[in-house]
């Protein structure tokens, strides 16, 4: 690759530390890999402390602690404390399960800057159904804790076919809980969500109604709360600029220490990604094959290679290209110029049909048992 196709690589500004794949919830839209049950050994405390120090030295400044459910790590406070001391802005992405008053106080003392609380829905029954546990009351208590400690609060609600019609209730709940930001993130179809796509992809009519209602709330509420509405990319004509570019700002470290340019890149065949146990963060970011492979545009095929918009979206998402077109270097099939765009159109067409019979192909919940079954079925 030459200098024309490979702009100089900036630092890994965003470090996402996926501390564990263990999770008390079993969300059917989870983006953790379907074979997460393969993960045997999580990085220990020392391992994570080293990742934090190396990433900060390489220029990382935003640090997200995620999972699975990061509250299941009893060293979370230690890790947050070190991240804070190093000068990171620290974000905790949690379902709220395990965030007791004691731990909230300890995290505050450790210097945690922000908590993003995820909700599956605002109606108790649907919430419990979708997350497969009884957690809704708890989340309301956790929201009160977050506000009580003076943290800014971002509420994240994954939106899909089964809850999108309750969008007004969801927004109202966020307002009542004092959220400063609300992310209404339509499910994107990776991992568990891809398995469950026919259950989760909303119809165009549902989507348009939800956007209309969201806009009405925005007008009414003004500056009180910032509401982000992320449309499922299946309904777009152009792909998203995934991760703001491969190996551009984003570095994920998975529970076992594998370093990835995005949460799901491990699925891509023929690419090897280094482990932080074997290689330093700076070398991983700048030197490793896995991180360099889709930088620049030398890897692109037609129609991306000669597309005037290639700088705008970098050809979309490599994982989606692999999942839907069978080739990670192909155009993201979401793009209307992709030769495989029909795959997306067919899924969208199916989503326009009225409610299907739920027993026909039941939702597959994200849990170790299903993960082990899927590993066995995949045959390797």
């Amino acid at each position: 690759m030459n200098d024309q196709t490979t702009p100089s690589v900036g630092p890994p500004l965003w470090l996402l530390a996926e501390l564990t794949y263990r999770c008390p919830l079993h969300c059917a839209f989870c983006y953790n890999p379907v074979d997460f049950a393969r993960t045997e050994q999580e990085l220990d405390t020392e391992g994570w402390l080293r990742v934090l120090r190396e990433a900060r030295a390489a220029g990382s400044v935003q640090c997200g602690f995620s999972g699975g459910e990061p509250m299941l790590r009893d060293d979370l406070e230690v890790l947050v404390g070190e991240a804070h001391r190093l000068g990171f802005y620290t974000n905790l992405l949690t379902s709220g399960v395990g965030l007791s008053a004691e731990r909230a106080a300890a995290l505050k003392a450790a210097g945690l800057d922000h908590i993003q609380l995820s909700f599956q829905d605002s109606t108790k029954e649907l919430n419990d159904f979708l997350s497969h546990t009884r957690t809704f009351d708890l989340k309301q208590q956790v929201a009160a804790l977050i506000k009580g400690h003076g943290w800014p609060m971002v509420m994240n609600v994954v939106i899909h076919r089964l809850n999108i019609d309750y969008i007004d209730k969801i927004i109202q709940m966020a307002v009542d809980l004092g959220a400063e930001y609300l992310e209404l993130a339509n499910s994107q179809y990776y991992s568990w969500a891809l398995l469950n796509r026919d259950h989760l992809l909303p119809s165009r009519e549902q989507l348009e109604r939800a956007e209309r209602i969201t806009n009405e709330f925005r007008e009414r509420l003004g500056d009180r709360i910032r509401i982000f509405f992320v449309v499922p990319d299946y309904y777009e004509k152009r792909p998203k600029k995934c991760m703001n570019g491969w190996g551009n700002v984003f570095l994920t470290v998975t529970p076992d220490g594998t370093a990835l340019p995005c949460h799901t890149a491990k699925m891509l065949p023929g690419l090897s990604f280094p482990n932080v146990r074997d290689m330093g963060v700076r070398e991983i970011w700048y030197e490793s094959e896995g991180f360099n492979h889709y930088r620049g545009d030398a890897w692109m095929k037609e129609p991306c290679r000669t597309c005037p918009e290639k700088e705008k979206d970098h050809g979309g998402c490599r994982c989606q290209a692999y999942m839907l077109a069978g080739d990670a270097a192909a155009a993201d099939p979401v793009c209307e110029f992709s030769p495989d765009h029909a795959v997306v159109e067919e899924a969208v067409a199916r989503a326009q049909a009225p409610v299907r019979c739920p027993t026909e192909a039941p939702l597959v919940f994200r849990d170790p048992k299903n993960s082990r079954r899927l590993i066995a079925e995949s045959g390797h």
């Binding site: 500004l13 220029g59 400044v61 935003q62 974000n91 993003q116 971002v154």
Partner: protein
């Protein structure tokens, strides 16, 4: 000068609660950090923001910058920046 400008010059802005301002060695820039996001400030914006501590007035900041950079006539630029930063919620 309008009344609005005069009021703004007397104001003592500080970085809003939701944001944290810090110098980033790797980027050689002042950045504003907030939940899951970052704004990289250019050199002049950084010089203004780092002085917004709730104690200095905007007029003080203008004087300081004119002294520090041996120049004059910065009032208009500083006012414009402070007004923009307030609109975006960076300053309170």
């Amino acid at each position: 000068m309008s009344t609005h400008d005069a009021e703004l010059l007397a104001a003592r802005p500080r970085v809003a609660k939701l944001f944290r301002l810090q110098w980033e060695e790797a980027q050689q820039a002042w950045v504003l950090l907030y939940p899951e996001g970052m704004v990289k400030l250019n050199a002049s914006a950084g010089e203004i923001m780092r002085r917004c501590d709730g104690e200095r007035s905007v007029a003080d900041i203008v004087t300081e910058l004119e002294d520090a950079f041996v120049t004059s006539g910065l009032t208009e630029d500083v006012l414009a920046f402070v007004a923009m930063a307030r609109t975006r919620g960076w300053l309170q």
